[in-house]
């Protein structure tokens, strides 16, 4: 049995669908059994609201939730657990920064995002621009969809307060040269936010080594439950921000005239948090941390290379994103001359291939790449050579069916 099929056995949906070629992990990765079991165990053994109820279920829930925070901190190599804010997802985490950090900006301050951003790291900044009178700068992409570092000097200035970019494109798989971004941002005193939504399913992260200030991701993209995500922030950066959402749990004291706010991390967690989901996410991350990522990366890269090679042999196929696999995660988006990705994906579904076609919530990037929509095959640790072979046969069949 191949290593991928050993891993695959840990995913209930994949185990129940042996014929399925699931190549849509960039949209949602499948949930690992450890995460699903943790959710069920929590709900059946320790379900209670958190924040210091003194009955034993509440104690259990509190401890599980606090431990989940520590486990996430370990996955990110964060300095401390209080730097980990649980949110409902990456989008909520990014909006949190756009509001809380955004509230510290003055008209004329600038935020730099890139043309490659997912709408979730694009629209919140447009909304901030319109709300707060700041300027929004757009780092262009190269012809292969990579952030163009050559444009950095021109776009960064002393007024730039934040650079908010993706760590990995959800369309092209292109990895961002984070070190270059961080160095350039530091030269003008700007903070750096990294949208890690696509990175986390490819292994544990090290926010300290990355040298950034904020990091956002979602549980459902790293083998955990939906409904939960994380904002990590440097303690001293977070501590200087006002809260975003108001409600239970985030206060120090509420009085009719004026309220005061709790310390980190609770200041940014208004209301009952997604408790069981946080516990499930932590279990997924623990499971990930025990894997051999050198091996997995080698396999993911090999599958990506095989897919690219096979697809390019089919007449009419054009690949979006970097040539080769060195600078990309195994996310392969492609266009077929004269065919619409919805039709292509529909035929592929008929061949038990799950791909997504559309604009992938990245219309500015697609515009830059000159397409309205594309088909995307995204590989994760449970995929193997059989998936690649099926993809290539499927795309060839789609061309025949649709021509």
């Amino acid at each position: 049995m191949s290593e991928a099929s050993v891993l695959r056995a840990g995913f209930p949906l994949l185990a129940a669908n042996p014929g399925l070629h699931y190549l849509d992990s960039a949209a949602t990765a499948q949930i690992h059994r450890a995460a699903l079991d943790a959710v069920v165990c929590h709900e059946t053994l320790s379900r209670a609201n958190v924040l210091r109820g003194s009955h034993r279920l509440a104690e259990a829930a509190d401890q599980a939730f606090d431990a989940a925070r520590r486990r996430v901190a370990r996955f990110l190599n964060a300095n401390s657990a209080e730097e980990v804010i649980f949110t409902s997802g990456a989008t909520a985490a990014l909006n949190l920064v756009a509001h809380a950090f955004g509230a510290t900006l003055r008209p004329g301050d600038r935020v730099l995002i890139s043309q490659a951003e997912h709408h979730s790291n694009f629209v919140p900044w447009q909304m901030l621009r319109d709300r707060a009178g700041i300027e929004l700068d757009l780092l262009p992409v190269t012809a292969s969809g990579e952030l163009d570092p050559a444009a950095l000097p021109r776009l960064l200035s002393a007024r730039t307060r934040l650079v908010a970019v993706t760590q990995c494109s959800n369309v092209t798989g292109a990895w961002t040269d984070v070190a270059a971004i961080v160095a350039a941002a530091r030269r003008v005193g700007a903070k750096v936010l990294l949208d890690g939504a696509q990175a986390v399913q490819h292994g544990p992260q090290d926010v300290r080594a990355l040298g950034i200030d904020f990091y956002a991701f979602s549980g459902h993209k790293c083998f955990g439950p939906g409904g939960v995500g994380v904002l990590w922030g440097k303690a001293e950066v977070l501590a200087a921000l006002p809260p975003f959402l108001g409600g239970g749990g985030m206060i120090d004291e509420v009085a009719p005239q004026r309220s005061t706010w709790a310390e980190l991390p609770r200041r940014f967690e208004a209301g009952t948090p997604p408790i069981a989901q946080a516990v499930g996410l932590a279990s997924a991350l623990d499971w990930m941390m025990a894997l051999d990522w050198t091996d997995i990366h080698a396999r993911e890269t090999r599958l990506g290379a095989q897919a690219i090679e096979g697809l390019l042999r089919i007449p009419g196929v054009r690949l979006l994103g970097p040539a080769g696999t060195a600078a990309r995660a195994p996310i392969i988006s492609f266009d077929i001359a004269g065919l619409h990705p919805h039709d292509v994906c529909q035929v592929l579904d008929h061949h038990q291939l799950a791909l997504r076609g559309g604009h992938h919530c990245a219309q500015p990037l697609l515009a830059a790449l000159g397409v309205d929509a594309c088909a995307r095959a995204s590989f994760a640790l449970y995929n193997d050579e059989a998936d690649v072979a099926a993809l290539i046969d499927g795309v060839a069949a789609a061309v025949r069916t649709l021509a």
Partner: protein
């Protein structure tokens, strides 16, 4: 009907590729542009009207086969129809997509969209040109959305 996939019969591909009405009117009495925000597909429908009946129809369609086939069908059959007839055709297409077995006698071509009833995510693709034409019939030039 290669591949056991009923949806992509030759008829629908031929209709889509024929692209009847794929053009632009020099002067239109009604016009509407509709987006499918979920995929970025887009249809612009234009009509020239006389007494509420279509005298000329044109569309610019960016979309999948289903969307193009639907637009092409309207391009081929739209002339002479009024808003009520377009509404009736739209209702008939919706009914087919929701599982009704047979197309109405005056719109036999709609039957080719019936296999899409198994794929709810694709219903909007076929309906987009119809909804755009409905909107165009009701628009005055200048207040399209």
């Amino acid at each position: 009907m290669s591949d056991g996939l009923e949806l992509y019969q030759d008829a629908i591909k031929r209709l889509a590729n024929a692209a009847y009405g794929a053009s632009q009117l020099a002067s239109a009495d009604g016009e509407a542009k509709l987006n499918n925000p979920l995929c970025g597909d887009r249809v612009v429908m234009q009509v020239a009207l006389s007494n509420g009946h279509i005298t000329a129809i044109a569309h610019q369609t960016k979309g999948c086969l289903l969307c193009k086939a639907a637009a092409s069908l309207l391009g081929a059959r739209g002339a002479g129809l009024d808003a009520a007839a377009i509404d009736a055709a739209t209702d008939a297409l919706e009914a087919l997509l929701h599982g009704q077995a047979a197309a109405p006698a005056d719109w036999p071509e709609l039957a080719m969209f019936r296999p899409a009833h198994a794929y709810p995510s694709r219903h909007k693709c076929a309906l987009l040109p119809f909804h755009a034409l409905q909107a165009a019939m009701r628009s005055r030039i200048g207040d399209t959305r």
